[in-house]
């Protein structure tokens, strides 16, 4: 599968879910012992072509997420590579204990893909938004957690996860016309954060859709005389602690930005490690508030909660001056 400017543009246009569908199509071509499971959301998961092309590698378990995770573990225990997929709240919370016992405790490796996480489905209400999945998944031993920054990274993370030594949760954020962070192919390694931009005053650590917003925020900060690094912490567990250490050595302020509750996500993960360091600069937690808000359009909700580039830059400006 070619990863280049053209394919990245195409994936960005179709969004993370459809890009994921393209990635599994490729995996279906290359791996014999491979199965994709879904809980009645094959269309939403971009799996229609996969289903038609590889009917024997596709299994729809109906609206039964707990059963899906048990079946996935059973298949995995027989050496079959398995991807499970449904909307993020159902993929992580409805079947949380099946994940804990069958994948974590029993060490059966399954790649779970949480669709439309964050608040992209805001108009459907908070049953379909997901602001807790990172907090929950990263507290279970034996589960790697990845939040790709764009559609190209979704494809690369899917390829990496299928050969990873333990279960992986991939959190997909953003909708169609997903902004592009990586214009061309690059090296993606689970657990290895990527510093996208080097600056001298502060370090912004971001995940998912907020990587792009942070890059844009940094341009605004540049104009205002603040020089910022941007780190794409695509793997939330295990955390790239070396990058955090370096950031704490060099920066006066650490900023974490995520489309997730400020409880338990990237900000918490960074803070947990940062607190152990001798040099530990202050941290700004930018993320979603600890509440179920009103339903609304994605863009509207992002603005309401201060998750756009302008707002991120303003908040950093204000606090930076105070510190």
């Amino acid at each position: 599968m070619k990863i280049n400017e053209a394919s990245i543009k195409m994936w960005s246009r179709i969004g993370s879910r459809a890009a994921f569908g393209m990635a599994v199509l490729e995996l279906g071509n290359t791996i014999d012992d491979f199965m994709v499971l879904t809980a009645d959301v094959s269309t939403s998961a971009g799996l229609e072509r996969f289903k038609k092309t590889f009917p024997d590698k596709f299994l729809d378990v109906g609206i039964a997420e707990q059963n899906m995770m048990g079946i996935a573990a059973g298949l995995a225990s027989e050496g079959i590579k398995v991807i499970t997929t449904t909307f993020a709240p159902f993929q992580t919370m409805r079947c949380c204990e099946q994940i804990r016992v069958n994948l974590g405790y029993m060490s059966q490796n399954v790649c779970m893909v949480g669709l439309a996480s964050g608040i992209v489905l805001g108009t459907l209400g908070y049953t379909h938004c997901c602001i807790e999945d990172v907090a929950i998944m990263r507290s279970i031993p034996g589960i790697t957690v990845i939040s790709p920054a764009d559609c190209g990274e979704t494809v690369k993370a899917t390829f990496a996860a299928i050969n990873h030594g333990e279960s992986v949760y991939i959190r997909l954020t953003g909708g169609a016309n997903n902004p592009i962070v990586y214009k061309d192919d690059y090296d993606f390694e689970i657990g290895k954060a990527i510093t996208l931009r080097q600056g001298s005053d502060i370090t912004i650590i971001a995940v998912g859709t907020m990587v792009y917003e942070s890059l844009k925020a940094v341009e605004i900060l540049d104009d205002r005389g603040i020089s910022a690094s941007v780190v794409n912490m695509h793997t939330l567990k295990p955390l790239d602690t070396l990058v955090i250490e370096k950031a704490c050595e060099l920066s006066k302020l650490i900023v974490t930005v995520e489309e997730h509750s400020i409880i338990g996500g990237l900000g918490s993960a960074v803070a947990e490690y940062k607190a152990t360091l001798r040099k530990s600069p202050p941290q700004i937690f930018i993320g979603l508030p600890d509440k179920f808000g009103k339903a609304g359009e994605y863009r509207y909700l992002l603005e309401k909660y201060g998750l756009t580039a302008n707002q991120i830059a303003d908040r950093i400006m204000n606090q930076y001056e105070r510190f």
């Binding site: 024997d56 299994l59 378990v61 109906g62 039964a64 707990q66 059963n67 899906m68 995770m69 048990g70 079946i71 996935a72 573990a73 059973g74 298949l75 995995a76 225990s77 027989e78 050496g79 079959i80 204990e97 099946q98 016992v101 069958n102 405790y105 029993m106 060490s107």
Partner: protein, 281 residues
Amino acid sequence: MESREQIIREIEHMSKRMRKNALDMALAAGGNSSHFGAGFSIIEITATLYGAIMRYDRNNPEWSERDRFILSKGHGVLGYYTALAEVGFVPVEDLQTFEKTESYLVGHPVINREMGIEFSNGSLGMGLSVGIGVALAGKRRNSKYKVYVLLGDGECNEGSVWEASMAASQFKLDNLVAIIDKNNFQLGGSNSDVMSVGDLAAKWVSFGWDVVDVDGHNIGELYDAFNRVNIPEKPVAIVANSIKGKGVSFAENNNAWHHAVLTKSQYEQALDELNKELAVK
């Protein structure tokens, strides 16, 4: 070739030895308690499976064609580890380490293929789904192995059991056998007092399974049920009517023995009863 009668006689003896070993385990657990009643109710089931029905190779525990067993009612370990000891997976002396710190013989099974423990269990309502995955893998690879999942009747309170039940018939898994140990009790009391599971056989029939109803302590009935020619493309459910605490008079149908400490004097009494039973045969 042994006759059916010879096999049944052997499994009956195996069951009695397992009960004595289970009693030793309960004593060894000491103040940690053991799930006594639900372990004793499944002994004939696990004895028949490991003694006469399932194919496995104790020298090659991961043999790809072996039949798979999942103790979905994970608290039934007294009836599981004792079966594994009978057939040579677990050294009998290891049973004394049951529930001891760092022992591999935990209060609920922890996967250990070398010792014949196929999966980790303990949280109810999960085993049948895992069994479906294993059975699907067997179909994919044209393997002939069967998957046996042992559930409790109280466990059937869990909704996830019925998610799995629905799926197994949808996927036509005739290589999957669910055994429901119907001892009529759960932790908090009788099924009918806590949460009635109603007519279990009828429920499984209505979910599309080929259902057999047997006496869960009658080796002949169990043996015949496992050997029966089943309806094509249907998973099999065996409802095994059993007695919680079977074989120990003071524990039978006494839910105080769901999870309890066995004292030395109770142990002596129970051992005496089991020895008398052994002498009869």
